[in-house]
């Protein structure tokens, strides 16, 4: 039996609940959907990002408010939760940046082979997750 005549599952009009759980994406597909998800996440969290910029940079007093958000918390949210959300922003930014640079590289050098798609996807995921873990460990005071 040749590769082509093998019966493969076909997905049309993917159902978010029935099909997404079994749908197997190649790594380049994961980079692609995570590029979108990370961008969407940063859009939703944009007011928090501006707040972090505002308090960190405006004055020494506001800078203390900025710092205490990570230790004493902010409003009803405890400090560890703020750290977790900021870590999510850090991951989203790193992934979006590296996946975006991958796009630019592919456009500039016409790097559109299947092999490059896969190897650059591995690179993108490894670097973004690796840097997130390193910065996350710093954020949570592990070193």
């Amino acid at each position: 039996m040749t590769e082509l005549s093998k019966k493969r599952p076909e997905f049309r009009n993917i159902n978010a609940f029935k099909d997404l759980t079994t749908y197997r994406l190649p790594l380049a597909g994961w980079v692609s959907i995570l590029h979108r998800a990370s961008g969407g996440l940063m859009f939703v969290l944009l007011p928090l990002i501006v707040w972090l910029f505002d308090t960190s940079v405006s004055s020494e007093i506001s800078h203390e408010v900025f710092q205490s958000a990570f230790t004493a918390g902010l409003g009803i949210f405890p400090g560890w939760f703020i750290k977790l959300v900021v870590l999510a922003i850090i991951w989203a930014y790193l992934h979006h940046l590296i996946a975006g640079l991958r796009h630019l590289y592919m456009d500039m050098f016409h790097a559109v082979t299947k092999e490059f798609g896969r190897s650059s996807a591995v690179f993108t995921l490894a670097l973004s997750i690796g840097l997130t873990l390193i910065l996350g460990a710093k954020l949570f005071g592990l070193y």
């Binding site: 007011p47 505002d54 940079v57 405006s58 004055s59 800078h63 940046l97 796009h103």
Partner: protein
Amino acid sequence: MTYGSKRVVTGAHYGLRDWLAQRITGALFALFTLIVLAQVVFTSGPLGYEGWAGIFAPQWMKALTFAVFIAIAYHIWIGMRDIWMDYIKPVGIRLALHVFTIVWLVACLGWAVQVLWRL
């Protein structure tokens, strides 16, 4: 002739324009990240408030940051519009989300610009 195979980037609504704008604004933000990061890394000793605020103090940095903020707001607009166009089909709901996106972005942009220029 400026259509067909001779179309130009500066022309209107070829579909290429937003694609190119997304890449240029993204590259600008990557460059901006590098500029900020370099100043953070090359600060001697702990950064603290003074060092961090000092990065945004020079007039050239304010002007650059201002331009980059506007660029990234446009970048987010193109990205979010693409998301809504892919997943939201009813015109009324999509229009409402487009309006929400613009209000959300312009409000955040105004806030960020205010923070920047009162430094």
